[in-house]
């Protein structure tokens, strides 16, 4: 937490629609250091849009407004598509839910990783290949030479996600945004992928923004958690102390989760308070 990698102040994302503007993200502010920051929220809470706004991936006709949106010393506000393309991968990277859709199906996974290396670091073919193999090893793939030549359809979901992580981290970005990186995976594989993510982010001193709907996962994995609802941050708390959260929404969500070993005839249902939306008009 010594230095700020990413500073976001009053970020808003607005989509125009037939029935007036829809503000998907409303005045979100946070600072990301060399830490693991989680964003939890239900669908439509704006958590993914926040991640995409930072990556410059909010397409037309969405509008981004912010008082501050800074990656290190680069101002991201009004950065052109070309400017973003130079940043993506090299300084800021993103892992999405399903590797199936993020990997090129007609190129071997090793080539794709090497290609990323060459594009960002202008390395030679041989250097890129060596770096890609090292990276595959770093994500605990046992036989990198063999996996290097495999195509996306030949690998399992868990391995695909590890390949994605390798590809995203090969150019050494400062920040990794992981949007539901393990939601498409089985629980046992989820744990492995998270462990690898954890290890790499720590050893490289990166900042990680983990976006997820899973309260358990975020609270057990991250250092700090932002709770989002209807486009705004309701609460920020230490991940370990999520159980002591103050906001009624967070408490309601936690209570609504069925828990093993605690049989309740009825789960307490979340009562949504319109005042939560009115906080910041």
């Amino acid at each position: 937490m010594t230095d700020t990698l990413l500073a976001v102040r009053n970020l808003s994302v607005t989509y125009p629609s037939d029935d007036g503007d829809v503000r998907a993200v409303r005045n979100v502010s946070f600072i990301l250091g060399r830490e693991r920051l989680g964003i939890v929220g239900e669908s439509g809470s704006g958590k993914s849009t926040t991640g995409r706004a930072i990556m410059g991936l909010v397409g037309h006709p969405g509008r981004i407004e912010a008082d501050e949106l800074r990656l290190g010393d680069t101002d991201l506000r009004g950065l052109s598509e070309r400017g973003f393309r130079r940043l993506r991968g090299q300084r800021i990277a993103m892992v999405l839910q399903d590797p199936k859709y993020s990997l090129d199906p007609v190129m071997s996974v090793g080539q794709q990783i090497a290609e990323t290396h060459r594009r960002h670091l202008r390395s030679t073919k041989r250097e890129a290949r060596r770096a890609a193999l090292e990276m595959l090893e770093a994500v605990h793939i046992r036989d990198p030479e063999r996996v290097y030549t495999m195509y996306p359809h030949q690998i399992s979901g868990g391995m695909g996600q590890r390949v994605m992580i390798a590809m995203m981290l090969i150019a050494g970005p400062d920040i990794l945004i992981a949007d539901e990186p393990t939601s498409a995976l089985d629980v046992t594989v989820q744990a492995q992928v998270l462990a690898i993510l954890d290890e790499l982010v720590r050893s490289r001193g990166m900042g990680l923004l983990l976006i997820s709907h899973n309260l358990h996962l975020v609270s057990s994995f991250c250092d700090r958690v932002l709770v989002m609802y209807a486009g705004q941050v309701l609460e920020t708390c230490e991940a370990g102390k999520l159980a002591d959260a103050r906001h009624p929404y967070t408490r309601g969500l936690l209570a609504a989760l069925p828990r093993l070993g605690e049989r309740r005839a009825e789960l307490p249902q979340l009562q949504r308070d319109p005042a939560w939306m009115a906080d910041i008009a």
Binding site: G20, A24, M277
Partner: protein, 308 residues
């Protein structure tokens, strides 16, 4: 999503009734759905142009007797042969001194009849072959699709020509000839649409509830196939019109003196260099109507895409 600052229409208006989020009857729900689709479609200028052209064609066909004089379509005034455009004859006259304007206007009736009759034959036949093939699979699929392949293996115009020649010239036979060659793509389309929906959970739910195959096809699959079949038909209209015109041009479609556009182009070709309008005006009519149907079809397809 976050709250939307809705600009709600005034209560009580037709628009409010149509856009009501909680319709009170089946009719209101259906009308609302069509209205929403229309709102999306309306934004597409090209598609609206296409719709305009097609509507104009339909209106022209319906009100042909009011726009032009029926007699003058066949009235031969040999003294007035091959006159250029004038107040009396806005499009000029042809080689037998007939008014081209009246002939083009009444020709729209023939074109529209052919198009409508082909559509009425082709869609049910295509669905009847394609839906069971996709739904049942196995040998049903193999038999039906091989039959389709046989029809697909012939060049379309040549097959239509052969049929028209064998059945004898005339509009009805032209329609049959075109329909016989036009249905296979519809069967394929219906089969492909059925295959993608076959494993859908709502089909499985219907099966679980004990619905028969016929009921599932009729109530669950047909409504889904129909939209893409209609889009396909709209896009095919241009081809059908051109085939009809081609048959007319070769003397196998409508017979003289019927003012069929293709036949008109054919008769004008001997004087194409000196009296260009005789062949060009009906040719333009064919071109504009084909374009209209194509634009409309493209627009419908885009509207369908955005909804899914």
């Amino acid at each position: 999503m976050a709250n939307a600052t809705a600009s709600a229409p005034a209560p009580g208006s037709a628009r409010a009734w149509l856009l009501s989020p909680s319709p009170a009857s089946r009719t209101q729900a259906r009308c609302g759905r069509w209205f929403r689709a229309w709102l999306g479609f309306r934004r597409n200028t090209l598609a609206m142009t296409g719709l305009g052209i097609v509507l104009l064609l339909v209106l022209m066909a319906i009100f042909a007797p009011l726009i032009a004089d029926r007699q003058s379509t066949t009235l031969q005034v040999l003294a007035n042969r091959l006159q250029p455009a004038s107040w009396q004859h806005p499009f000029g006259t042809d080689e037998l001194g007939r008014d081209l304007f009246a002939r083009v206007v009444f020709g729209s009736r023939i074109t529209l009849t052919i198009v409508a009759m082909v559509g009425v034959i082709v869609v049910p036949v295509g669905l009847a072959i394609g839906l069971p093939a996709g739904y049942f699979g196995g040998w049903v699929d193999r038999v039906l699709m091989r039959i389709t392949d046989i029809f697909l293996a012939f060049p379309r115009l040549v097959l239509a020509l052969a049929f028209a020649a064998a059945l004898g010239p005339g509009i009805e036979n032209a329609v049959i000839a075109i329909a016989l060659t036009a249905w296979p793509p519809y069967a394929r389309l219906a089969r492909a649409e059925t295959l993608t929906r076959r494993r859908a959970e709502f089909i499985q739910a219907a099966e679980l509830q004990g619905a028969s195959a016929l009921r599932i096809i009729a109530t669950q699959i047909v409504p889904l196939c129909l939209s893409s079949v209609i889009i396909r038909l709209t896009l095919d209209m241009a081809g059908i019109i051109l085939t009809a015109a081609g048959l007319g041009f070769l003397g196998l479609g409508a017979q003289p003196p019927a003012p069929e556009w293709g036949a008109m182009v054919s008769s004008g070709r001997q004087v194409l260099l000196d009296q260009w309008w005789v062949a060009t005006i009906p040719g333009l009519a064919i071109f504009i109507v084909s374009l209209g149907f194509n634009l409309l079809g493209d627009g419908l397809r885009d509207a369908g895409d955005s909804r899914s």
